[in-house]
Each structure stands twice: as structure tokens, then as C-alpha cells.
């Protein structure tokens, strides 16, 4: 069953490469959160109630509800344009995401290790690669936040790969990262929105000195 959701996660990565509208990014993040919950749910051997509630909270609550709601608020507040520009045509981005998926599957096949659950490593590595690529090609800081969240999802899966259970500390650390990133950037964007009226990064570099 986990494989089903891993493949669905790969498909969401493809949709991230395809879409240009900001609302769609938010929806895809919600769907990714739900898929991550499903992956974790089906891969745990035994579930204690507390662990289960914590995982539910982290994935569904934080990744699918709180964070997208917050990003949506930021989007409306800053009157973002409906579509975001990319510096590489979308056609080539799709080819890049396919190549990164194939490469990460081949790498995880190569890692014949019994210490790592390579089935999660596949899409987690592809997610990290694609998230970095996403940040490189998009010119808007809002999209950078979305890319950062894609990387976070990938690292969440990586923690599944390396851990046999869910160590509490790892989860807390990741959660904190996400919240810090989104809060800081959200505050940042609001401040910028007030002073600058634009969230394009080439204008932001004027802030250098």
C-alpha cells in the first residue's frame, strides 16, 4: 500500500512542474500532506495512540491545513498575480522532474543497504532535487517558500527512510523548521509587501546594502 502513495507523491511532483498558478501550488501542498499521512499510516507496524495523534497532527494538521492556510493568507494579502513566471519553459521542467525521478529510483536501487528503507528514499531524494530546482527557476519569493516546503516534505520522507520508528526529536525538529521557515518568511513577505509592493527577487537584491 505504501508504494501506491509513493507513486502518487511522484505524480504530485510532476504536477508541481506542470502548474503555473499559485492556487494550484497550495492545493498540491495540501494533497502532498494527505499523501504523506497515508504513507506513514500504512508503514507503521504498531501504532500507539499518542504517536498516531502526533503524526496525524504533524502531517494533516500542519502540512495540509495550517501551512497552506497561512500561505493562502499571504497570497491574498500581497495580491499576488495568478501565475508565476519561470525562467525555464515548463516543457523542460517536466523533463527535468522525470529525469530526477528516474535518477533517484536508480540511486535507491544502487543503495543495497539494510539500514535504510530505500522505498521512501526514492521520492524523498527526487523531492529534494526538484524542490531545489523549483527555487532556482522561479523568480518570486512566494514560490521560493513553496519550493522550501517541497524540500521539507522530502526530508520528512527521508526521516521515514532512516528511522525504524518515529523518533520524537526528529519530528519536532522538522516541525520547528517548517514553522520557523513559514513564519519568518510570512512575516518577511508582509513587511516587504508593506514597503516594497513587489515580491520579485531581482528587486529584493536592492536590499543588499
Amino acid at each position: 500500500m505504501t508504494y501506491l502513495f509513493i507513486m502518487l507523491y511522484a505524480v504530485t511532483l510532476i504536477y508541481f512542474a506542470l502548474s503555473e498558478r499559485v492556487k494550484k501550488f497550495v492545493w498540491l501542498l495540501v494533497i502532498q500532506g494527505i499523501i504523506l499521512f497515508a504513507i506513514v499510516f500504512f508503514s507503521l507496524n504498531e501504532i500507539e495512540l499518542f504517536d498516531f495523534i502526533f503524526i496525524l497532527a504533524e502531517t494533516i494538521l500542519v502540512k495540509s491545513i495550517i501551512v497552506p492556510w497561512f500561505i493562502n493568507k499571504v497570497r491574498k494579502r500581497n495580491n499576488l498575480k495568478r501565475t508565476q513566471e519561470v525562467s525555464v519553459p515548463v516543457f523542460y521542467s517536466i523533463i527535468v522532474v522525470v529525469i530526477s525521478l528516474v535518477v533517484s529510483f536508480l540511486i535507491s536501487n544502487h543503495l543495497n543497504s539494510s539500514h535504510i528503507h530505500t522505498r521512501y528514499f526514492t521520492v524523498s531524494f527526487a523531492s529534494v532535487l526538484f524542490g531545489i530546482y523549483f527555487i532556482i527557476i522561479h523568480k518570486n519569493i512566494f514560490s521560493h517558500v513553496v519550493g522550501y516546503l517541497i524540500i521539507e516534505n522530502g526530508i520528512f520522507l527521508l526521516s521515514l527512510a532512516v528511522g525504524s520508528e518515529m523518533p520524537m526529536m526528529v519530528n519536532l525538529a522538522i516541525l520547528l523548521d517548517v514553522l520557523m521557515g513559514v513564519l519568518v518568511l510570512g512575516v518577511f513577505i508582509n513587511r516587504i509587501g508593506d514597503t516594497f509592493e513587489s515580491t520579485r527577487i531581482d528587486q529584493l537584491s536592492r536590499l543588499k546594502d
Binding site: 516543457f91 528516474v102 536508480l106 536501487n109
Partner: protein, 660 residues
Amino acid sequence: MNIVLFKIAILLTFVLFLLSRKYQYYFGLALHLAIITISSIWVFNVLALSSTLTLPFIPFLGNTLSIKIDPLSAFFMLVINFTVLTGIIYAKGYLQPYCNKKSKAEMAWHFFNFLWLHISMLLVVIVRDGIAFLMIWEIMSLSSFFLVIFETEKKETIKIGINYLIQMHVGIVFLMIAFIVAYVQTNAEFSFDGLSVYFASHNPFWLFILFFVGFGIKAGFIPLHSWLPHAHPAAPSHVSGVMSGVMIKMGIYGIMRVLLNIPDDLFNIGLFVLIVSLATGLIGISLAIVQKDSKKILAYSSIENIGIIGIGIGLGVIGIAQNLPALAVLGFGGGILHILNHSLFKSLLFYSVGSVYKQTHTRNIEQLGGLIKKMPKTAMFFLLGALAISGLPPFNGFISEFLIYSGIFKSLHSASLYTDIVLMCSFVGLAIIGGLAVFCFTKMFSVMFLGTARSSKVEHAAEVNTPMLIPDFLIGFLIIIIGFIPVIFMRLISQIVVLFSADLSTFQQIIPTLNHISLSSGIFIIIFGLLWLLRAWQQKQQIVKQNATWGCGYSGANAALHQYTATSYADNFVQLTSKIVHVKKDFKDFDEAEIFPQNREFKVRTSDVFEDNLITRPGNKILAWLEKIAVFQTGKIQHYLLYALLFLALIFLLTFFNLI
């Protein structure tokens, strides 16, 4: 006995210079037929018995040079003979207008070179000795050079010819280096057979790359292809048909001959050939789509088909390396059949385009249109060629691509993981190449022959006379036979494939499949025929009228202006692949203040990205650097004497200080 006749035929070619223009053509035709007959006797001997024929040829450098004909050489001889035969039959009508404009010596020289191209191509595939091979290769390049620059009155032609000659010589240098390396390292025979000693004891990859570059320049693999799109349009059409149909396959022959001598360690070689061929196929057809010169489109399409042949051969080699018999047999089989198929439909396309050029005096397809009404037979032959080259059933192009696809899909299950990924990339590449070929040839056929005439050049076009259509009939017949009944050619193909991979059980399995394909094609044609009869019966009872095309209120003035042009057809493809196909549009946009638009000009130029970056740009840089040195060349003798004096002083000083 046959050898003596062959040698007499070769010597008789010199008699051409003594004949008058009226008899030159017929004498040349007779000699071609004689050579074809003699070589066909050898070919049938070899193929009937599936053996190798060795005959002593002439004394050469102390030893007797012998010619060895094995099934691979026999196959190439068949292809060469057929294509040159159709070429020389076509040439009669095509060269008619030139007969009066050119002098007796020029025409004799042209026919002489055509004969020597034929002879040298035949000898290339049957000579194994290294030095003799290189000499014959040189004769082939030279004779084709003289054929290309036939229209010497155009300055461009000579420049293109020289470009071609230089690139051919670069290729021959690589071949010489490769042969010399093998000879020096092993001290075996300086020939193809001697290579097997080298490959048995050394890593075959690097020497294979040297041979690949040398033969690849002739074949037209990317990025070694830049001579092809210039030479084929510049040459007269019968020469282009022969060059595109068989001469570039000599490069493929060379690669296959070298491959036969490599016993193992083949995976890297196969992968290399496959990757280069996939790139060649994709980039070749992409560049073909954006051209406007009809022969340039066909030249780039030849590059794409060489890519398909290379894909077949590369997959075959990978199949041998990975022990996948289906892939090995069907990959090679598809590649080899495609050599035959491509020579057929590409020469057919070149002859049709040549007929169009003869009648309209333009190669720019943007000035043509509606030719199907003036030249119906040429148009239908072109359609046949276009359908065949796009690999559509029920014609022959589909059969060779089907063989390659079969090989890939049959081996998917038993291949290893990395081979599976390679196989997936290759069938995706083949599918895209097929789709792009459909795109290119629908554009070319519909812009040239359909719709309304786009310029006045079409007005005086008429169907060409029947002798020029005879080669089209011959080739069309073979295209249809190979497409509908491919099994009769399988025995021929299997004799060549067995040289590479001895396991032929897959070939037996493919025969029922090919029979099913014939059955399906037959059902398709029968249904088409029934529908035609049904419609004729239905429309007899109804009114069938003719009227103008629906124009949505836009028609007026010139109907030809509202048609889709070739540039607009290719436009959405250009937007997708702008990095590879360098298409530059020159026009001034309308600005907002311009209420009544003024006249505008729109220019579209295409350039070959590989030629720009590999040849033109480095060439310009070297020229710029040389121009700086050219400062010394002042033309005044006093300066030159000063240089001599300075040189003497320099030598004196160096000797004085004991430096030399």
C-alpha cells in the same frame, strides 16, 4: 572471367571523352548496365550459397589485391546497383536542359564521374586491404565532389563543393590514423581483417571511436553532418538521390565492417552508437522541419534516417553484449532493412523534388503550391515516398521500424535494469522521431503540392515526360512489395544478421508476425476499396457540386495569401525547440501609435547550430587572428628583404650565444 570483363568495363569509361554529346549518355548507361550485371552475378552466387567469394583483382604494391564478397558486401552491392540504375535512368530527362548549355568535355566529365562513383562504391564494399580501401574511398569522395559542383556557373556551388571535399578529407585522416594505430600496435595485416587481431587484445572502445568519426563524417551523424545540408541541394537531383540513397551508407558499411571484427566488450560501443544515433535522429528531423529549401529538408531527413539505422545497429550491439538474442537479431535486422528502405524512398523523394525543380526552377517551397493539379504523377509518387519515410503502414518504412520496436519490446522482460532504462529511452526516441517525421512530411507535401499556387513560378509547370517517371515506378513497386510482403526479404536480411549474432531462432518467430502484418495491410486496402465503391454508389444518386473553399469572409484578392505557409506550420515547433533550431525572424513590430500600418517586410532565416558553433565560429576566430598576422604581408619587396636581414641577424646571434 567476370573479373576481366569488370576490368574492361572500368577501362572503357575513359572512352567517354571521345564521344559526342548525343552518344555519351547511352554509352554511360551501357557501361552501368554491364557493371551491374557482372556484380549481380557475384552477388547471387554469394547469397544463394550464403558463403564468401574471394577473387584476385589486380596486382597492387607487390601482392595481389583480392576482393572478398560476403553477404554484407553483397547486400550493399544490391542496394548500390539498384539506386545507381534508377539514378542514371532519371538523369536522362533531368540533364536534358543542360546538354545544350554545357560543353562536350563537361558532360563527358560528369558521366565519367558518375561511372566512377558507381565503381568506387562497389569496390569500397568488396576491398578489404587497408591502403587500397583508403585509395578507393578517396576516389569516391573525389568523384562525388566533381558531381556536386556540376553547376559551376553558380559561385555558391564551388564553395559548397570545397567545403564538402575538405570535410571528406578530414574523415579520411581519421580513418588513416585508425588503421595506422591498429597496424603499429599489432603488426598484423594492414586491412580490415587485420583489425581483429587488435581488437582481440586491446580495449576496442577508443579505436572504434576513431573509425566512427571517420566513417561518421561520411554517414552524416551529428555533429559531423554539416556538409550534408549544403552538398545535397547544390548537386543535381540524380546525384543527390544517389548520394543520399547509397553514398552516405558507405559510412554505415564501414562501421559495420569494423564491428564485425570486435569480439566482446561491446556494451559501451553499443551504448555510444545508440546515444549518438538517437541525438542524430531527433536533431536531424527537427532541423528538417524548419527548412524552406525542398532539398535541404530531404538532406536533413537523410540525417534522421541514418540516426534510425544507427539506433538499430546500436541496439543490436547492446543485444549481443547483454545476451538478449531478440534485441540483437531484430535490432540488426531492422537497421539493415532500413538501409535498403531508405535508399528506396529517399531516392524517390529526390527524383520527385528534382522533377518539380526542373519544371518550376525553384527549390523554395514557399513559392510552390497546387502542383498536384499540374504534375499529378509526381505528386502521387512524392506522397508514396512521404508515407514510406514517415514509417506508416502498409509501406516499407514501417516494417524496418517495426522490427526494431519488436526487438526492444521482446527484450524488456529479460533485460537488466539499466538496459531497461536504455530500451525505454530508445523506443521513446523512435516514437518521437516517427511523430516528427509525420510533422515534417505533411508540411512538405501539403505546402508543395496542395492548396493554391503561392507564386507565379508554378504557372508553367507540367508533368515531366515518362522516361523520368520510370525510376519512380521501379522504386514505388519495391516500396509496396517490401511493405506488403516483407517475408520474402527476410531470408536476405537473415543472411547478414547471422554474421553478427548466430542465434536466428528469433528470426523464425518473426515470420508469422510479418505474415499477420501483410494480412492486416491487405484487409486495410480491401476496406478502403469497398468504401470507395460504396461512396461512388451513394453519390450517384445524389447531387455532387463544386464550390470555393469556405473562407469565413476572409477570402478576396489572392486566395494563395490565406493559406498556411511552411513557416507558420513549423512555428509552434520552433517555439518549443528554439535552442536547437536557430530560427531568426527579422521584422519590425507595429507600435501602438501606428494607426494605419505601413508596409512591412518579414524575413526568416535558419542556421545549423552545429555548423555555427563547430565550423563557422572557430573559423571566424582563426581568420580574425590570422588577419592580425597578415599585417606583415605588405607587398613591398623592401620589407621582405628587411625580414630576411633580420632573420640572418637572429641566426647569427643565436649561434653566437651557443643556443643552436
